[in-house]
């Protein structure tokens, strides 16, 4: 049991959405994930399979996130590659597109299964872009309620001129307000930043003594 919870927390940090995925990823892994994601995306676009492949990948990721058994099984080097591939195939044959199963097979062949979450995140960003959609990660100190979310979504859609989906994360360190991240853009509207700005201004201000001299 304790083993399980351990696994859960670690998975949580590892598989958080957006840029977090790359936090512990070195340069080489990043480049490799990008190459895989691009290959899958190009394949899907060329064969007009963006819909089914995207859906299949999403489904697979859901299972991957929920089941630690699945994660361990796919990454287990003690089990022969072919056995792993066959099991995955037979398990998901009816549920998802053949393309995504082949792709997973390739990852198992190349022992690159640990890149799966990163590849997914990159792939879904590419797929979103192709559909003129953008995922925005909104970090706030408190959970956003639905009206806040829809207002924010509307504003962001006007600003970015794209369809926006919001994923909310909680980080009490920003104290209040929110910070949006999307495609290397950061929009900082947090209380923390305001206070820091204020601090800088007060500190760089000519101090009282000097002021009197001037006046």
């Amino acid at each position: 049991m304790p083993n399980n919870t351990d696994c859960q927390t670690s998975v949580k940090t590892e598989h958080g959405l957006g840029d977090d995925v790359f936090l512990t990823m070195g340069h080489k892994k990043y480049k490799a994930s990008m190459a895989y994601a691009k290959a899958l995306f190009n394949f899907a676009v060329d064969f007009k399979l963006l819909g089914p492949i995207g859906k299949g990948f999403e489904e697979f990721i859901c299972i991957w996130r929920q089941s630690s058994l699945m994660r361990r099984f796919i990454q287990c080097h003690a089990i022969d590659r072919n056995t792993r591939k066959e099991r995955i195939n037979s398990l998901f044959k009816d549920r998802m597109h053949k393309g995504i199963l082949c792709f997973l097979g390739k990852l198992i062949d190349n022992s690159h299964t640990e890149l799966i979450p990163g590849i997914y995140s990159m792939f879904s960003d590419m797929a979103d872009e192709a559909r003129n959609k953008r995922r925005v990660r909104v970090v706030s100190a408190f959970p956003l309620n639905s009206s806040q979310k829809s207002r924010l979504q509307k504003t962001l859609e006007d600003y970015l001129k794209l369809a926006v989906t919001i994923s909310n994360e909680i980080d009490p360190r920003i104290l209040g307000g929110f910070v949006c991240y999307t495609d290397s853009i950061k929009i900082d509207m947090s209380l923390k930043r305001d206070l820091e700005k204020l601090k800088d201004r007060v500190l760089t201000m000519p101090c009282g003594g000097d002021k009197k001299d001037e006046g």
Binding site: G26, S184, I185, R201, G208
Partner: protein, 533 residues
């Protein structure tokens, strides 16, 4: 200073009321990898080459490599404080350094932060570290001399204001010494000096600073230091930063400046290190392909500006350290081809006591001749000729063959001139003194003086002529011409006789040139060996 709490809270209250939270949109990326002064960052898709970025903790960096998915960033600060996963923000501007008169007398790092204990550097302006060199119409030919105060250089390889003269030689041959003497000699000329130390030992830099202070040269000097312990990005930008500081004086204050890059071999090494860490393909000697551009774009910024632009100038003295005298290595040949001349320093001359160890045979200055004052041009012509003949004759003399009296006289004079061109460190000489001395010596006035006593003759003669005939010296200084040659020669001959008499020098030759063959024959080969080793 006392802080009044009520007052402070009032200020904060006012600030709060005035504060408006503005929408702030930044472009950020995530650090994937960090190490050895380099960070690789994902995102930052619109980042441009050489743009500044700022990491979460305020440390800044420069975009150095644009790759397909990532950018390579050189970190200007302690890279150990940057962790994977940190955010890096585009600053949308290029690197600049503070510039201004407040820098004079200071020791700063390449970002303009003080390294001395004189408090913050208060500069109002800043200037881009990398800026394009002045174009053709912005320049004027080099015409004014930059007096180094070193006889051998001012006479034989003169440097003009706006010129780039390379100082090249092995380690410990007196390269830095020449640069420092030149800086010290600018005390009265009003030239602003910048000494950029790249990859030097901190103790060496400290010694340089000490000497400059001792000779009151810090008032008009800026030291930009990226010592061997500074990280490679700082060493890489140091010369450009120093150049930007000099450019401010040239462009805004229309001043003449002198900048010493000590040394560019280490600069190239730092650049090589950065490039290899960023997987740029290595070329010859493992330097990246654009290492020529590294130095050409730096040295092209030295110029003499046209009168429309104020007529300021930037003279550059780049230094290159060779290994075992190998001047055909990659970096030396590059820098030789960029500069307007070279001063070669040879370790065997240095060891033989000929210091500064300048090889006058192969050292050249391609533009400086136009910049010599007229008087110096006159005397230097004879000097060059005499020295060239001397070098040729030396080869014969070593064979120990019988030499005719004329040849012997020429050898003797050559040896005197070699002695005369020796000069200790920190003893720079005014150009008018140099002219008088070289004129007198190359017209045979110290032919009778044994080589060992030439230095003594030099010192006493200058004292004598400055004391008894000051108008002769001041005339040279004021008009820049040698108007009364006969008088100067007479003074020389007169003093030479006096010197010989005072010091009881026994003549081995008669004054009119009639000689006693046995005596000279025995002595010559011995002396020549001493002089040419």
């Amino acid at each position: 200073m006392k802080v009044n709490v009520a007052e402070l809270s009032q200020i904060i209250q006012k600030e709060l009321e005035a504060y408006e939270s503005l929408l702030e949109v930044d472009e950020v990326g995530t650090v994937l990898e960090v190490g050895d002064g380099i960070a690789r960052v994902s995102g930052l898709r619109n980042a441009m080459s050489a743009e500044m970025v700022e990491f979460e903790n305020g440390i800044q960096g420069i975009v150095f490599n644009l790759e397909q998915e990532t950018v390579g960033i050189v970190i200007l600060g302690d890279y150990l404080k940057i962790k994977e996963g940190f955010q890096a923000k585009r600053l949308k501007r290029l690197l600049s350094v503070p510039v201004g008169e407040a820098l004079l007398g200071r020791i700063v790092d390449p970002l303009g932060n003080p390294l001395d204990d004189m408090g913050p550097v208060r500069c109002e302006e800043s200037r881009l570290v990398e800026s394009p060199a002045p174009g053709i119409s912005a320049r004027k030919p080099v015409r004014t001399p930059l007096q180094t105060g070193i006889k051998a250089i001012d006479a034989m390889v003169p440097i003009g204001r706006g010129q780039r003269e390379l100082i090249i030689g092995d380690r410990k041959t007196g390269k830095t010494a020449i640069a420092i003497d030149t800086i010290i000699n600018q005390r009265e000329s009003g030239v602003i000096c910048i000494y950029v130390a790249i990859g030097q030992k901190t103790s060496t830099i400290a010694a340089v600073v000490e000497k400059l202070k001792e000779y009151d040269a810090m008032d008009y000097t800026i030291i930009v230091s990226a010592s061997a312990s500074a990280n490679f990005p700082l060493q890489y930008i140091a010369p450009y930063a120093g150049c930007a500081m000099a450019e401010w004086f040239v462009n805004e204050k229309h001043k003449d400046t002198l900048i010493v890059y000590d040394d560019l071999s280490k600069h190239a090494d730092a650049y090589r290190q950065l490039s290899l860490l960023l997987n740029r393909p290595p070329g010859r000697e493992a330097y990246p392909g654009d290492v020529f551009y590294l130095h050409s774009r730096l040295l092209e910024r030295s110029a003499k500006l046209s009168d429309d632009l104020g007529g300021g100038s930037m003279t550059a003295l780049p230094i290159i350290e060779t290994q075992e005298g190998e001047v055909s290595a990659y970096i030396p040949t590059n820098v030789i081809s960029i500069t307007d001349g070279q001063i070669y320093l040879l370790p065997n001359l240095f060891a033989a006591g000929i210091r500064p160890a300048i090889d006058v045979g192969i050292s050249v200055s391609r533009v400086g001749g136009n910049a010599q004052i007229h008087a110096m041009k006159q005397v230097a012509g004879t000097l060059r000729l005499e020295m060239a003949q001397f070098r040729e004759l030396q080869a014969f003399a070593q064979l120990g063959t019988d030499l005719d009296p004329a040849t012997q006289r020429q050898l003797k004079r050559g040896m005197c001139l070699v002695e005369l061109l020796k000069q200790p460190q920190f003893k720079t000489m005014k150009v008018e003194d140099q002219v008088a001395l070289i004129y007198v010596a190359s017209h045979g006035c110290c032919d009778m003086i044994p080589p060992g006593m030439v230095r003594q003759f030099e010192a006493e003669f200058l004292e004598y002529i400055n004391g008894v005939y000051p108008h002769v010296i001041s005339d040279i200084a004021q008009t820049g011409r040698l108007n009364n040659k006969t008088l100067l020669k007479e003074i020389g001959e007169e003093y030479s006789r006096k010197f010989i008499k005072d010091h009881n020098i026994v003549q081995d030759t008669e004054e009119d040139g009639c000689e006693c063959p046995q005596k000279t024959e025995q002595q010559k080969p011995h002396d020549v060996e001493g002089g040419s080793r």
